[in-house]
Amino acid sequence: MKIGAEQVRHVARLAELAVREEDVPRLTEELQGIVAFVEQLAELDLAAAPADAVVIGPRALQLREDVVDPIPMVRGAADLAPEFAEGFFIVPKLGGLAEE
C-alpha cells in the first residue's frame, strides 16, 4: 500500500510523538520502504497455516499465586519523577485530553 504524509501525521498522533513538519516527507519515504519490505508476507497463504502451530510467550507464561511480594527499592517516586509533591506526580493541565 501507499503511505501518505497524512497517514504519518495520524500515526504520530496515535503514538503521542511530536514530529516536525519538515521531517514528514523523509518519515513518509522511510515508512513506505519498510511497509513495502514487509508486504512480501502477503505471499503466505493464511488458510494453509499449520494446525498445531506453537505460540511463544504466552505459552511460557507462568501463573503465580496472587500475593503481594514487594521488592526492596533503594529510591522512590520522589527521586525518579521530573516533578513530584506530597505524594503526587505533577503534570500540566489536561487541555485537549480532557475533552476525549
Binding site: V11, E16, A18, V19, F37, V38, A42, L80, K93
Partner: protein
C-alpha cells in the same frame, strides 16, 4: 587475585579501552564497592571475574540510560535479577555498556551517546545492539558480559567481534530488570572470550525467578560434561542460510567448519527451513508492534526527562518528551508498530506476521523432529561492515539480522562462535538447538572451538 585487585585492574583496562566508546557508565568508587561486596559472598563460579552489563539492564548504583536521551541520568530503584545473580556467584559488575538506543539496531550506531568502535578496526562497527559489551570482551577488558537479544543483538556482535555469544531459550533467564523492548522475543544473553566464559555466565544468571512471569519454572542451567568429539550427533545444514550472495569469506569459514564436523564424527545432513525468508519481514512487524506498546511508558511523568510542548498541556508534555527524547530509529519503530496495530491494518500486517512466525516455529520443529540434534549455519551474511555503510537505508540494516532473527521468533537457543577470519575480520558460525537444548549445544560448541583456529584466514 583478590576482589580489590580485580577492581583496580578492571578500572585500568576500562581506561585503556576508552577510545572504543564501549561504556556509558563506570567508576572506581562503584568498582571498589563491588569488590567489597564480592569479599563478603562465598566463592562461586564467577569469583575473580568482572562482568560488563548492557545498559538496558538496570542497576541501582550506576545509571541506566538504554542509550537514550529520554533516560539520561536515570537510576533504577532496584537491581536486575541477573545482576544480583552475578554478585551472588562471586562476580563484580565492571561497567554499563553502550548499545543502540533501546536495543534497536545492528551496529551500535543508533546510540544517543555515539557509536562503538570495532576493536580491530575503528572504522568498522562492532555489530549491535549489544556492541559495547561485545567490544569490551573482544578487547580483553572483561572475560564475559551480559547483552540482550530481541533479533540477534548478541550473536551478531559476537560474530563481528570474534567472540562467543549465547542466546538461551525464551524464559531461561529472568528478565526482571531488563528494560522491555519486544516482550515475546527479549532474552538476556551472554558474551564470553571463550565458550566456557559465556556458558559459565549464562549458567550463573539462569533459573526460575518469581519476579518474572515469563521465567520458566526450571532449575538453573547445568554446564554439560566435556566431550571429545561429535560422535553420534546429527548436524543439520539449512540450505536457506547459504544463499548465492553470501559473503565469500563467511561461506569459506562455514565450509571449513562443516568439514571439521564430519571429521569429528557427526553426521552432516542437508535440511530445509523454507520460511526463513519471511523471518526478517515478520520480525519487523512483531518487534515494532511490541516496542510501540512497551515504549508507551516513557511519558515524562514518572521518570526520565521531561519536555513540555507549546500548548502547555499534558498531551503536549507526552508528545514533546517523546518526540525530543527518542532518536530516529526508535521514532521509526514506534511509528511502524503503531501503524501495524492501527485500525484497518492490524489483520493485514500483524496477523500476517504472526502467521509467518508460526511457520518459522514449525520449520524448526520439523527439522528437530526428523532426528537433527543441532543446526549449523553462518551467524551473519557478512563480516563487520563500515560505520555509515547501512545507516541511510533502514531495510538494509534490518537484513543484518537475517540468520539470527529466526531463533528469536521461535524462542529457541542459538549461539555464535568464532570460526576464522576473512581479510582480518572475524567470522561467526552459529549453532541452533531445540527448546531448552542449551547443554548439548554448548558441549558441541566446545568441541568445535577446540578443533578450529579462529585466527586463521579462511580464504
Amino acid at each position: 587475585m583478590s576482589a580489590a585487585t580485580l577492581a583496580a585492574e578492571t578500572a585500568r583496562r576500562l581506561r585503556e579501552a576508552a577510545s572504543l566508546n564501549a561504556t556509558l557508565a563506570w567508576s572506581e568508587e562503584a568498582l571498589e564497592a563491588e569488590a567489597a561486596l564480592a569479599e563478603s559472598v562465598p566463592a562461586g563460579p564467577l569469583s575473580g571475574q568482572a562482568v560488563a552489563i548492557k545498559d538496558n539492564i538496570v542497576t541501582t548504583v550506576l545509571p541506566t540510560t538504554c542509550g537514550s536521551r529520554i533516560l539520561e541520568g536515570y537510576r533504577s530503584p532496584y537491581d536486575a535479577t541477573a545482576v544480583r545473580r552475578i554478585r551472588a556467584a562471586g562476580g563484580i559488575i565492571a561497567a554499563k555498556t553502550n548499545l543502540d538506543e533501546f536495543a534497536m539496531g545492528s551496529s551500535t550506531e543508533n546510540s544517543a551517546y555515539g557509536r562503538v568502535r570495532h576493536p580491530l578496526d575503528p572504522e568498522r562497527v562492532p555489530g549491535g545492539s549489544s556492541g559495547g559489551s561485545a567490544a569490551l570482551v573482544a578487547a580483553g577488558v572483561v572475560r564475559s558480559a551480559l547483552g540482550s537479544e530481541t533479533g540477534g543483538s548478541v550473536r551478531q556482535p559476537a560474530a563481528f567481534c570474534g567472540i562467543t555469544g549465547i542466546k538461551p531459550s525464551y524464559g531461561r533467564v529472568s528478565r526482571f530488570g531488563l528494560v522491555a523492548f519486544g516482550s515475546s522475543l527479549d532474552c538476556i544473553s551472554t558474551f564470553g572470550v571463550t565458550v566456557e566464559a559465556a556458558a559459565t555466565l549464562l549458567a550463573a544468571v539462569s533459573g526460575h525467578d518469581p519476579l518474572d512471569a515469563t521465567s520458566r519454572a526450571v532449575a538453573p542451567l547445568e554446564l554439560p560434561a566435556h566431550r571429545d568429539d561429535l560422535a553420534g550427533l546429527v548436524i543439520g545444514i539449512p540450505e536457506e542460510y547459504f544463499p548465492e550472495d553470501l559473503d565469500a569469506g563467511v561461506r569459506a569459514g562455514c565450509d571449513r567448519v562443516i568439514a571439521r564436523i564430519t571429521e569429528l564424527g557427526a553426521t552432516v545432513r542437508r535440511v530445509s527451513l523454507p520460511n526463513t525468508r519471511y523471518a526478517v519481514p515478520a520480525y519487523y512487524i512483531v518487534n515494532p508492534a511490541e516496542a510501540a506498546a512497551n515504549l508507551a511508558r516513557y511519558d515524562g511523568v514518572r521518570y526520565g526527562v521531561r519536555r513540555i510542548g507549546p500548548e502547555g498541556d499534558v498531551r503536549a508534555l507526552y508528545r514533546a518528551t517523546r518526540g525530543e527524547g527518542f532518536g530516529p530509529e526508535v521514532r521509526r519503530r514506534i511509528l511502524v508498530g503503531t501503524f501495524a496495530l492501527s485500525a484497518g491494518y492490524a489483520d493485514q500486517y500483524y496477523g500476517q506476521a504472526q502467521a509467518a512466525r508460526q511457520r518459522i516455529i514449525a520449520d524448526f520443529a520439523a527439522v528437530f523432529a526428523s532426528g537433527v540434534d543441532l543446526i549449523f549455519s553462518p551467524t551473519t551474511p557478512t563480516p563487520a561492515f563500515r560505520a555509515g555503510e547501512k545507516t541511510a537505508d533502514p531495510v538494509q540494516m534490518y537484513l543484518a539480522d537475517i540468520f539470527t532473527a529466526p531463533a528469536c521468533l521461535a524462542g529457541i537457543p542459538a549461539m555464535s562462535i568464532p570460526v576464522g577470519r576473512s581479510e582480518g575480520l572475524p567470522i561467526g558460525g552459529q549453532l541452533t538447538a531445540p527448546d531448552m537444548g542449551e547443554a548439548s549445544m554448548i558441549a558441541a560448541a566446545r568441541v568445535l572451538e577446540a578443533a578450529i583456529d579462529p585466527a586463521a584466514e579462511v580464504r
